[in-house]
Symmetry: C2
Subunit: 546 residues, 2 copies
């Protein structure tokens, strides 16, 4: 009991630490974002550098001391940190490191006029990214049982550091974007503006050399990857935190050695249509960016917006229809539901539902403005349809993904005798009348409780394995997942790399006024972008489980 009490105590303590750090960095970041406020962005950098250094020290301590103690890791959570998540983390980490290198190069090209903290920050961040990636690669599945409270606090510190870095990066990007879209400032291209700011900041130092400009453009385009890196790392660290001191019943924790067999079997429709959408989307994005940014010609902007909305509407309608189809297929799927405790999945579902709220909020504000505004032209009609679909599609997709994540993987399914399944079903009904918490207790039932079935099962297994073939349902679900995955990828790329129809289309700006609409978009859009990235990761899991 005292251990249980202290578990709660340790958790509460580390949460309090995290809350305070998040609020402090939130204050500094939001204060630093406004020029009127007498806070500078290097106040934030200073705090982040200190926190990162503490973090690096703790992670090294964990790797070399805590995890090597005797009995430190009695078990591992096989659901945590799957290989594709860790792979994605490494990919984003590499791109973040490139960004840090570019940033260091950019700032050191006029180091004389800048505070040294600006150059130190990307260097320290680089070390932090390397340490953290190694740490997560090695320890993402650990259920640690030593130094409990220190580990909890360390993990919460890591989580909040990542969130603070994410906040700082998002704010920095939003300030750039918003300034270039602000109707008051008559600057045509955001790069020009960025240079102007840097110039005004550093007075007589400007970024003139070719190398410096490459650095500047490079780090600007690599921002989105760094943002996603922070969020991926946060999610993995959170799962580790949940697993601190956890003891896993080995029966619950079956390892699914599912291979990623994308190229073994040939899939046609999903992959091909998906790649088509992806390529078209990238083309649309390039045309859109060039046209919107190069000239302030209102007619051309309208054309380009029509194209952008048109592409998105087609893409979203297709994806919605397919999500509905997938959910219907799941209705007829007789696979058992998986009700085991699984912090990773709980977090996935919560993040999908939570991050979608950002997109929902933008859509609702957009819908209200479009309906209430008077000129009912094509652009407004397209904008309205786009906003409605942006409400509908994430909803259907979430339902589809949640259903997919709660299925038992097919390997197990194949091994279960149909007769045994019926008896299981029967037990279910009877016990259901007694308690609703049956699934857990049922899974804990020792196999010896059904002695007559043990022999039958092993016989049936062989016959089933012989006739094991991929039925059309699984094939369909796999095709769907691949298509949705690619669709979400393009819907991530577009806003992450700078498309802001919310500002180029003037309806909402005129309706809410610039400050309010900018605040809404700047706060909600990062969540919308994260939603797409997270949907990609979850769909990959659904694909592998189908």
């Amino acid at each position: 009991s005292s251990k249980e009490v202290w578990k709660k105590g340790g958790r509460v303590f580390s949460i309090l630490l995290a809350i305070n750090l998040v609020l402090l960095s939130c204050t500094l970041v939001s204060g630093g974002a406004f020029q009127e406020v007498k806070l500078h962005d290097y106040d934030v950098f200073f705090m982040l550098i200190i926190v990162m250094l503490i973090n690096i020290a703790w992670m090294l301590f964990y790797i070399f001391r805590t995890s090597r103690l005797q009995g430190a890791i009695p078990c591992k959570d096989n659901h945590a940190g799957p290989i594709w998540l860790r792979g994605g983390l490494v990919l984003f980490a590499v791109l973040s490191l490139v960004m840090d290198a570019f940033k260091t190069g950019y700032y050191s090209s006029y180091y004389k006029c800048l505070s040294p903290i600006r150059i130190m920050f990307p260097v320290v961040q680089g070390v932090f990214v390397i340490t953290q990636t190694v740490f997560l690669w090695m320890s993402a599945q650990d259920c640690i049982h030593k130094h409990l409270n220190l580990t909890r606090c360390g993990l919460m510190l890591t989580l909040t550091t990542n969130l603070a870095v994410w906040m700082a990066a998002v704010t920095d990007e939003s300030v750039h974007k918003a300034e270039s879209k602000n109707p008051i400032a008559n600057v045509t291209h955001r790069m020009a503006l960025l240079m102007m700011r840097a110039a005004s900041q550093a007075e007589n130092c400007a970024c003139k050399s070719q190398l410096c400009k490459i650095f500047q453009n490079g780090y600007y385009w690599l921002y989105p990857f760094n943002i996603e890196y922070s969020l991926f790392a946060s999610a993995m660290v959170y799962v580790m935190w949940k697993n601190v001191g956890r003891l896993i019943d080995p029966h619950d924790n079956h390892i699914h050695q599912l291979k990623f067999k994308l190229f073994r079997r040939t899939y046609f429709l999903g992959t091909i249509v998906g790649f088509l959408v992806l390529v078209t989307g990238i083309a649309v994005l390039i045309v859109y960016e060039i046209q919107v940014n190069s000239k302030e010609d209102s007619k051309r902007t309208d054309q380009v917006l029509t194209m952008y909305f048109g592409f998105n509407i087609i893409c979203l309608s297709l994806m919605s229809a397919i999500c509905i189809a997938g959910s219907i297929v799941y209705r007829f799927d007789k696979r058992d539901m998986d009700h085991h405790k699984n912090p990773t999945r709980t977090l996935d579902v919560a993040l999908l539902m939570g991050a979608a709220l950002g997109q929902y909020a933008i859509s609702y504000y957009s819908i209200v403005a479009t309906v209430a505004s008077s000129p009912r032209d094509t652009i407004n009609a397209l904008n309205l349809s786009y906003s409605l679909l942006m409400l509908a599609q994430p909803t259907f997709q979430n339902i589809f993904i949640i259903e997919g994540l709660h299925r038992q993987p097919p390997e197990e399914e194949d091994k279960v005798d149909p007769q045994q399944k019926d008896i299981y079903g029967l037990t279910f009904v009877n016990m259901n009348a007694v308690s609703l918490r049956v699934p857990e207790s049922l899974s804990a039932l020792p196999p010896s409780a059904l002695p007559g079935l043990a022999i039958q099962t092993s016989e049936a297994r062989r016959s089933l394995k012989a006739s094991k073939k991929m039925n059309w349902r699984r094939r369909f679900l796999k095709e769907i997942s691949v298509f949705l995955l690619l669709g979400n990828a393009i819907l991530w790329v577009m806003p992450a790399f700078g498309a802001r129809p919310q500002f180029d289309n003037k309806t909402e700006l005129a309706f809410y006024g610039y400050p309010m609409w900018a605040a809404i978009v700047d706060i909600c859009l990062p969540f919308g972008i994260f939603y797409r990235m997270h949907a990609v990761a979850s769909l990959l899991e659904v694909y592998i489980m189908s």
Copy 2:
């Protein structure tokens, strides 16, 4: 299994309904708050009237049809809707009805110039408040088992309606407050401003008669009760929603027939000091309001702010010290922890932790501004101490309340033989090595598993009952709870009835600029106010359980 699947499905569906309704009302409310936006506040009222009417219809259907079906309510959750919560709800409902009457009177005194929706809204709201209070009084403990999905959606609709009413009321109040505190507008008293707004809105109709002015002042001062009513109702409806379709093991659901014996035994210190603080606080509030609002004399404002901060600092320090003392006493308390499933308690804890965030955020912004600002005078020093204590006190208080809520009530404690307890403790240690989820499985242990103890216990019970006397520890905890309860009450009264040192003290205003600081305070303060109210309710529960 299929029932379990549909339970999740029904929940997800009703949550989606709630999310969409909340976002829509959030859009309308926030849009209506700004004069530049072409949304009027009667757009919100129109939506709210429709939603309320649907809600009333559903609640009547529930009372007269669903709950009367055979087998509709096989069990009740005795933790839900305790009598003091329902009592508080009725009290706030009565005050809300008075407010609605005043509002109707106020608006109908110049009904010619206003849209009829403005008069309809308080009338419909009155009917809604009556229906909902009756509904919650009768059904707060129900675990309904018929019309599951309809009930879930109905409850979520009720929840979101209450939240929307809360949002509308808070925004309305914030607009009034903020306008009177805006340094740009040179209006000295908010009532004058309110009349000015009403006059400009209704052109040649003004509130001139004495009756009309009474109505106007009256409904303004009754606002805080209506705000708390909505939140209390939301919390109770949420617990009902969690209980839909729940089957409770009668063993888990022991009824605590604890009487509210405030006047039976005599308590001195806690009650007396608490009332002293309460009365002083009200006096401070009245002086503060009159002085700050009447004259724009900077020196007098400083004096009054010194008084306000001084009182708060003393009050908060005292409360912090006492919370720490209480937590230390709990450390030595040998009562068993209560780990049964209890949605009410989970919600209480989550609300306490969540609502405190609002206060934390204001404090952090305040601290950063105070530290970074140059004039280090007395007011700034007091403001800094106040902000730091506003961080510390809710933290200590939350720890104290959470510990208190997780204890078994003393009645059970008295019945347990010390010897039996030791054996329980021993079992605990052994089983702890096997699994961390022991407490649940232990409580499910049938009493027959320990046959030797059954006789001992019944013997020991009598001897213990004879020597039953309230020990000093329980007495101390009760005194603490009463004092904290009264302390939180005065900390609720002050901001709820209009004290805004955040605006009267110019440091933060100058540092962040008016729009940003107003946004921070207006969004975060309602949560801070709710935190105090909710702490009062939770402390009452801790008091009764000690």
